[in-house]
């Protein structure tokens, strides 16, 4: 018998119905949670914070309205409206009140909000003035740190205003022993505590809070059991009636007890996933190795003849739909950075087990099939690749990639495992890693990784070198000397490193302030009872209860900085074609390109948004002044010409992404200016800082906060994405780009690196296309790249490129071995390509 079943299992009619129901309306903001948590907090002011959290969680679960959606087999919804969201005033709330009138109208991720809801939220929010985590974090930061945030050197917004999330808990433990088992474990620990112990006061409170939380979850499931029974009694459709009775039976047993069937395991999994979100609002709460912890239940039922592959597939598909039912409303600026209502619930299949054996199984394939069936953004499906990954699994994954869904992402065990070892994980734990959110590896159920701790803009410290520490009329950096006086490249590079080091220390201060604020105001007893060693240590993950503790802020702009510093080295110091003084003025003048009204407006809007987020007010006169200042700058023709010459010279300097050894090695060194200093810092939970190199889609909004850079990039245009080369600068195709990227040190960036490649569908067409595509991934991974994901260009993209060529200057299309820049072709040739894109040859 084959080790796993690889055939495509068909989709049932139920799945499109569930999806249609979920997406019938604009998602809605609801007020129940905000109301309930506020009620509870008001009644518990005399209690320790951990107990208040547990009591509030219980109060919410006992009273929040519940619903079973049409046709569901796995139930549990945090809102009555499909894809609705609750609010979390304990982290922050003012931004939402400010956006009450616009949140339904905005372009990125709109949410409907009823007038009654607004009233209820305002009433609840009033209690939270000065009591949020973001209030406390602000109070804990140094003035220099706040200044650096205000000037967009880095953005710790994610955890500054929200719950942390970014964790994978012990789903396996809940499936196996249920919360009843976990409560017993906690009670045993409680029995071992002695009132004379030094940590008794805090430990016993934490353990009792954890028990309260587990009990609340059990009661919540029972509410669902009762609701299902009630609906079954009223149901006239006998098939649905049976389904509802099964749901009732499942919810009466799990997650209180260990799961006895695959269906119960699915239901138990779902309550964990849903309620983690309801406890703390964080995103990137990641199911992790679903194909591993679900497998025993699947196998047992399949072998006993109690389950068919088709019904198992349907249950998995149902979970995939549910993962899109969870939602989160972000502030308008963040919504643009994370557009697509994404919760980054990363679910990974394949890879090796603790002992180093490949553990791909039926479910690994069925998870990929589920993404194809459901065809929605969640879960963020990932696949672990190593030397012994079955070829069939990679082909199956590639087949999903070529649908254009942008999934799965591919991860390289051969880089990630040694990287985690170097951060102190045991070999067994490192081999058992999964991915959190976008690209961040961790060992499930043992880690508080703070994986998405900030966006750090590597371009901004270079601007501070040119300005000697000044920005927008304020001194915000350290003084590294007048740039005009720097006599050697080493001196210049050294100044950059100093500005980097200084700002990295402020970044650490920001993250640590927020970290302390979460531990002080929002410890999470429910989440913590599913992460080792919280129970033994008697403290929450926020207070350092996890075995492994990290903080992982991500740097971006590697390619821009590598190209910039290399251009300066070549043009200023090696070839002496331009002086640093000249370069400085060229950057300030945006290479003489000026700003039109639209781009000036956009720039100022971006700045204002960011300022608004940091609580700064600007009056209209100031805004008008800003726009006028951006647009004025008319230069003498001679000066303008010189800048054009300079840009032409920069253009000739080799760029990262073209498999040029010298530039690539240079880029490697530049990446170290971020990844190395971070390793020297510790967080309040006793863990280490570790770098990631991945900006998600934030390279666009964050680029809008960055002036012109010495690589020829104009002010406020996007910076490079992840560790990918700058857009359009890699001209020798995907292998050359991948070779360049693989020359960075991915191992040291143990919080993950992100490499995005874009493909025209003909590159993946037919069996041969899939084989070559898999070979490309394998080869990049042979060279120790860490992560790869793909966008397949579709017909709509090409039509958009035809209409807006300026947005697609770098779009390469390939037809029958012939490749061309799409936007340089004439209209009729572009039409040919669009036609061929549909045909797939």
């Amino acid at each position: 018998m084959a080790k796993y079943y690889t055939q495509e299992i068909p989709k049932t009619d139920r799945i499109p119905r569930l999806v249609a129901h979920l997406y019938a309306k604009m998602p809605e903001i609801e007020s129940a949670r905000a109301r309930l948590i506020t009620e509870s907090y008001k009644a518990t002011e005399d209690k320790p914070i951990i107990m208040r959290r547990a009591l509030a969680f219980a109060h919410i679960l006992d009273n929040i309205p519940i619903i079973i959606r049409e046709g569901e087999l796995v139930v549990g919804s945090s809102t009555i409206a499909p894809r609705g969201c609750q609010t979390y005033p304990e982290f922050s709330y003012k931004w939402l009140e400010a956006e009450f009138e616009t949140v339904a109208e905005r372009k990125a991720d709109p949410f409907y909000i009823a007038d009654q809801t607004k009233k209820e939220l305002l009433a609840a929010d009033a209690y939270w003035e000065g009591k949020t985590t973001s209030d406390l974090a602000t109070a804990l930061m140094t003035e220099e740190t706040k200044k650096a945030i205000e000037h967009n050197i880095f953005t710790p917004g994610n955890y500054f205003y929200n719950g942390v999330g970014h964790v994978t808990v012990q789903y396996d433990k809940v499936l196996a022993m249920g919360y009843r088992g976990i409560i017993e474990e906690i009670e045993e620990e409680l029995d071992r505590c002695n009132p004379g112990d030094g940590d008794y006061c805090t430990k016993s409170q934490f353990l009792k809070a954890a028990i309260l939380s587990c009990e609340a979850v059990i009661r919540y499931a029972r509410r669902y059991a009762q609701l299902a029974e009630k609906e079954a009694a009223a149901c006239t459709d006998s098939a649905r009636k049976q389904e509802l009775l099964q749901i009732a039976a499942n919810c009466a047993r799990v997650p209180e007890h260990g799961a006895a069937t695959f269906h119960e395991a699915c239901q138990s999994f779902w309550f964990v996933q849903q309620l983690l979100q309801l406890e703390s609002s964080g995103h990137s709460i990641s199911p992790g190795r679903f194909d591993q912890y679900m497998y025993p239940y699947y196998k047992k039922d399949l072998e006993a003849g109690k389950l068919t592959r088709e019904s198992a597939q349907e249950l998995i598909d149902c979970i995939w739909v549910k993962l899109n039912d969870l939602n989160k409303c972000r502030d308008a600026a963040s919504a643009e950075g994370f557009a697509g209502y994404s919760l980054f619930q990363n679910l990974i299949v394949g890879g090796q087990d603790k002992e180093g054996l490949d553990v791909t199984n039926d479910l690994s394939f069925m998870c990929i099939t589920a993404s194809k069936h459901v065809f929605l953004p969640q879960p963020s499906l990932s696949i672990r690749v190593w030397n012994k990954s079955p070829h069939d699994l990679l082909l199956k994954a590639a087949d999903l990639t070529r649908t254009g869904i942008g999934l799965p992402a591919y991860y390289n065990d051969e880089v990630i495992i040694p990287s985690l070892l170097s951060r102190g994980l045991t070999l067994e734990d490192a081999r058992d890693y999964n991915i959190i959110g976008c690209v961040e590896p961790q060992k499930a159920g043992k880690t508080e990784g703070w994986h998405d701790a900030a966006f750090y803009n590597m371009c901004r410290p270079l601007e501070l070198v040119f300005s000697n520490g000044w920005d927008k009329g304020e001194k915000i950096g350290i003084e590294t000397g007048a740039v005009e006086d720097m006599a050697t490249f080493e001196e210049f590079y050294d100044a950059y490193k100093k500005q980097m080091d200084y700002n990295i220390s402020l970044l650490v201060n920001a993250d640590n302030a927020i970290d302390v604020a979460h531990a002080t105001r929002c410890p999470l007893p429910y989440l913590s009872c599913m992460v080792d060693d919280c129970i033994k240590r008697g403290k929450s993950v926020q207070e350092g209860g996890a075995v492994y503790n990290f903080t992982g802020p991500q740097g971006f702009g590697i390619a821009n900085m590598a190209d910039s510093l290399y251009a300066i080295k070549k043009l200023v110091f090696d070839e002496k074609k331009v002086t640093l003084a000249e370069y400085k003025r060229a950057l300030a003048m945006n290479y003489g390109q000026g700003f039109d009204a639209v781009s000036a407006g956009e720039i100022v809007t971006e700045i204002l948004r960011e300022m608004g987020r940091n609580g700064m007010a600007v009056d209209e006169a100031q805004v008008a002044g800003m726009i006028a200042a951006v647009m004025s700058a008319e230069l003498p023709a001679e000066e303008k010409k010189r800048y054009e010459e300079l840009r032409a010279m920069i253009d000739e300097v080799p760029k990262f992404g073209n498999d040029n050894e010298e530039v690539d090695m240079f880029a490697r060194d530049v990446a170290y200016t971020y990844t190395r200093p971070l390793l020297n810092y510790r967080n309040p939970r006793g863990g280490q800082f570790q770098a990631g190199l991945y900006p998600v889609s934030a390279n666009v909004p964050l680029g809008a906060q960055t002036g012109a850079t010495p690589d020829g990039r104009l002010a406020h245009t996007p910076v490079a994405d992840g560790v990918s080369p700058s857009a359009g600068k890699d001209v020798y195709g995907p292998t050359a780009a991948a070779n360049s990227v693989s020359k960075l040190d991915h191992g040291i960036a143990s919080n993950g690196t992100l490499f995005n490649q874009k493909f025209h569908p003909t590159a993946l067409s037919g069996e041969k296309g899939l084989e070559n595509f898999v070979a490309l991934i394998r080869s990049y991974f042979d060279q120790k790249g860490s992560h790869m994901q793909f966008n397949v260009v579709d017909r709509e993209t090409l039509l958009d490129a035809q209409a807006h060529p300026e947005k697609y200057a770098h779009l390469v299309v390939r037809v029958a071995g012939y490749s061309a820049l799409f936007t340089t072709l004439s209209k009729s040739l572009q039409d040919d390509i669009i036609r061929r894109t549909e045909q797939g040859f």
């Binding site: 195709g733 995907p734 070779n739 080869s779 004439s826 040739l829 045909q839």
Partner: protein
């Protein structure tokens, strides 16, 4: 071991990495400059002249053609070795017609072979047999273009009759030294009728060892280059063949021969 062949010089106009439509796996194509034919549909018109030329590309003058040694080409070819290893790819020579520079072509293939990199060549076999004979020992895969069975029509559209090429095709097949595939550019108004394709397929089917044929649908992506070279594109009104038509030609081949037929490279 002598490696003098690494110093052989030749003239190329491009090296394209990550080519996946010409031969097996992921390949690097080295385009040799100079061709004996002047196909009216040619998508690389800058390949035809052996002389180094200027071509206007998006308003800028670009020099087409450079003289390089085998070693210099191999330096680029080596960079994608991990991809060849994983995909069964390697080096492909294209043109122009590689056989216009027989020593250079031979030594490129030999150099690749010597370091364990697979070799392929796109060519219509329009050269003296001695030139081909010298190359075969180093060639894994010969991708041979056959454009038309009617020599007169062949001459009208390409500038030369087809006798020499068909003769060489038989000899290459008979040699058994390389894996031979036949490729047919399907050009409306020239060779896109079922009868014309069938005739080529029958010829290919009769060649010993030939198992597959590729029908390459005409595209006009090279059209803009003609103006860049100050030339006139002579087939401005031809549209690429429809998918249905390509499928029909494929069925035609499969009905009349035992060849495996693929649409596209």
């Amino acid at each position: 071991m002598t490696t003098e062949y690494l110093q052989t010089k030749g003239r190329i106009f491009d090296i394209q990495r990550y080519s996946i439509h010409d031969g097996t796996g992921i390949r690097t194509i080295c385009f040799l400059k100079g061709c004996v034919l002047r196909c009216k549909w040619c998508c690389n018109p800058e390949s035809q002249e052996y002389g180094i030329q200027e071509m206007t590309v998006q308003g800028k003058t670009k020099i087409i053609g450079r003289d390089v040694t085998v070693a210099e080409v191999m330096e680029t070819v080596e960079k994608d070795r991990p991809y060849y290893d994983r995909s069964g790819g390697g080096l492909t020579l294209s043109g122009g017609e590689s056989l216009c520079q027989p020593e250079f072509a031979r030594d490129l293939l030999r150099a690749a072979r010597a370091v364990g990199i697979g070799t392929a060549m796109e060519s219509m076999g329009c050269a003296k047999w001695e030139a081909i004979e010298g190359i075969l020992p180093y060639l894994d895969h010969y991708l041979m273009d056959i454009k038309h069975m009617d020599s007169e029509k062949h001459k009208r559209f390409t500038g030369k009759g087809n006798e020499l090429m068909l003769e060489n095709a038989k000899k290459i097949a008979a040699s058994g030294q390389t894996f031979l595939s036949i490729r047919v550019p399907v050009i409306p108004t020239f060779n896109d009728t079922p009868e014309e394709i069938r005739a080529i397929a029958r010829f290919a089917d009769a060649l010993p060892g030939v198992e597959e044929i590729y029908l390459l649908p005409y595209h006009r992506l090279g059209q803009d280059k003609y103006a860049g070279l100050g030339r006139v594109y002579e087939l401005p009104d031809i549209l690429p063949p429809e998918t249905e038509h390509m499928e029909r030609l494929k069925r035609e081949v499969e009905n009349y021969t035992k060849l495996r037929c693929h649409i596209g490279g």
